[in-house]
Amino acid sequence: MTQARQTSRLFALSLMASAALLLGGCGSSVKLDDKAGSGAAPISDATRPGGSGYGANNNTVPSTNVAPVVVAPSDNAGADIGLARVIYFDFDSNVVKEEFRGAIEGHAKRLTAAKGKKVVIEGHTDERGGREYNLALGQRRAEAVQKSLTLLGVSGEQIEAVSFGEERPAVQGSNEEAWAKNRRAEIKDR
């Protein structure tokens, strides 16, 4: 990783928190970009000094210039804080299993400490069964995670539970392994 990129990344991490707040506002106001699969903010391609990867000769840019790069919030954000953002479920179940208690408690702690912070919980199912019924099952999973958080003191105003049913699988495939990875709820910052 180049020096410029390392600097940019640190800058990006600190920007991310404020970006998440900027993207917030009214509950489900996610700007649509037809090209962005996750509905998160598009990455703004700022000019990079040294022209790394962009094919342009930027010899006129001072070497001390730091180009801010905003990274869209993603699952990796959880990894940076050390908190899992994906909770997996057994077949036909919306029970939040014991193994995810630590993650739930971690999110609850983080959200009760910052009342202005909002999250959306997206529930999903595997592909088996009808689409609308699966949409409702995914909603149940999202609401189960929501309930786990509100029981730990998080305000309902900070959470919106939504569902994608079977429409947004994490893993393609018609086997147990893929199905297990698709039965999930994802906690995303707003």
Binding site: C26, S28, K31, L32, G130, R131, E132, L135, V162, S163
Partner: protein, 444 residues
């Protein structure tokens, strides 16, 4: 492009900031699809117990028109499984004068269809047909239509409908449209096509999923669920203008729209009060009224044709089953009792039947048909992954989604399950078909 949001569905301010940008042409919503979406291949399997042999001649001068009208009519009649066509193209037939009926009787025809297509000075076409009862040597009448070139296919379908009705006694459904969702890679398209799969047009293109399309009773609007804003909302779109608005965009998930028979209301599934429950809402987004009150999942509602009853799916008894509730509210009654997983109800326009998807022993999801007067149930298919059945406007056919050779395909079936047609398109996965109402070709 800011999508207009009716005031009610902006309750709580949660939806106010939604910005949507979808690819819609300026002057209207429909534009022809690329080759990837067009060109359905139709495979018919099974035929009726009796097939009416009909001689169909090429329509006089049809080679001078942009559409092979006699071939369209022939394909329609054959696709129904109730006709066997005899080639009469060698004869010079048209709708004028009396054809050699005794000749055709000896060739085994019960009926003979002849016609003409004449281009007019103003660019429109005058299309006429005449039908003859060969056995009785009788004139069965005909019709003359004047249509623009773009309506010639629908005019041919309308003639096929008239021939079908004259010879079988049932109303035809060839001059109808279907809507379905097509998925190619990560692109989702809400497609409108003629009942034979031709003439595909894209009503909506999105990078996010589109599910649960539903035709308004007059065929002018489509309701559907879009995930374009990061969650499920119910949108109503005017087909010819492309104007769309969010009818239900409350907190949580908004889905499963179904139109009331008078076209004024939708029943929808909302999670705004926790869980998934049924609500009735006016098409303008006002007048929200909760219809079910359970701690279970209540979804996939559909109205009875007389407007008095709503059928829906609920797992209040454990697994998903189909229930009914008065449209004005009240307690729900269970309708399905065999099998542990029954979903996706559709009521025939004549009110006599309910089609639904039931999981059978062994795990396959198949189209079932229940006679609503007695409750008897028949399984109509032997495939594994059937979804979303929808009745044709004459209540005689059901279109549904299924899987064949690893692809998502559309299928139609007669109510006895004997006559089926498979519609496949090479590059796309197609699903969620809904059959639109009878069309008036002059209005399209």
């Amino acid at each position: 492009m800011q999508l207009p949001v009716s005031r009610r569905s902006a309750l709580g301010g949660l939806f106010g900031g939604l910005a949507l940008s979808l690819t819609l042409t300026a002057g209207g919503a429909l534009w022809p699809l690329s080759a990837a979406h067009a060109q359905f291949r139709v495979e018919i399997s099974g035929v009726g117990a009796t097939q009416i042999p009909i001689a169909i001649g090429k329509f006089r001068d049809e080679a001078r028109s942009p559409q092979p009208v006699s071939a369209i009519i022939k394909a329609d009649l054959e696709r129904s499984g109730l006709f066997k066509s005899l080639d009469a193209s060698a004869d010079r037939l048209d709708e004028v004068g009396r054809p050699p009926l005794s000749d055709w009787r000896s060739k085994g025809a019960d009926a003979l269809l002849a016609g003409s297509v004449t281009p007019l000075a103003d660019g429109r076409f005058d299309i006429r047909y005449h039908l003859w009862d060969v056995l009785k040597a009788q004139d069965m009448g005909g019709l003359s239509l004047v249509v623009p070139a773009g309506d010639l296919r629908q005019a041919a379908h309308r003639i096929a409908d008239e021939v079908y009705e004259k010879l079988t006694g049932d109303k035809g459904v060839f001059a109808t449209r279907i809507a379905y969702v097509s998925k190619v890679g990560r692109q989702h398209t809400l497609v409108i096509a003629d009942s034979d799969g031709e003439g595909t047009q894209a009503a909506l293109t999105s990078a996010q999923p589109i599910i649960s399309p539903a035709w308004s009773p007059d065929g002018r609007q489509l309701a559907y669920v879009s995930f374009e804003g990061g969650k499920a909302v119910v949108v109503v779109q005017d087909v010819s203008s492309g104007r769309r608005r969010v009818v239900a965009g409350f907190k949580g998930t908004n889905s499963a729209p179904a139109w009331s028979p008078d076209g004024r209301q939708l029943v929808v599934t909302l999670s705004r009060d926790g869980g998934s429950q049924l609500y009735v809402i006016n098409v303008d987004g006002e007048g929200l009224r909760r219809l079910t009150q359970s701690a279970a999942i209540d979804t996939e509602a559909t109205w009875s044709p007389d407007g008095g009853t709503v059928f829906f799916v609920s797992d209040r008894g454990g697994g998903p089953q189909i229930y009914r509730v008065p449209a004005s509210g009240g307690s729900a009654t269970r309708v399905t009792f065999s099998g542990s997983y029954n979903i996706s109800p559709a009521i025939s326009p004549d009110g006599r039947y309910m089609a639904y998807i039931g999981q059978v022993d062994g795990g396959a999801y198949r189209v079932h048909l229940m006679d609503l007067s007695g409750g008897s149930v028949k399984v109509l298919t032997d495939t594994r992954d059937d979804e979303s059945p929808s009745f044709a406007p004459n209540s005689k056919q059901i279109i549904y989604a299924s899987r064949a050779q690893g692809r998502d395909v559309l299928m139609t079936t007669s109510l006895d399950g004997r006559i089926k047609a498979k519609l496949t398109t090479p590059q796309a996965d197609v699903r969620e078909p809904v059959w639109g109402p009878q069309l008036n070709p002059s209005r399209r």
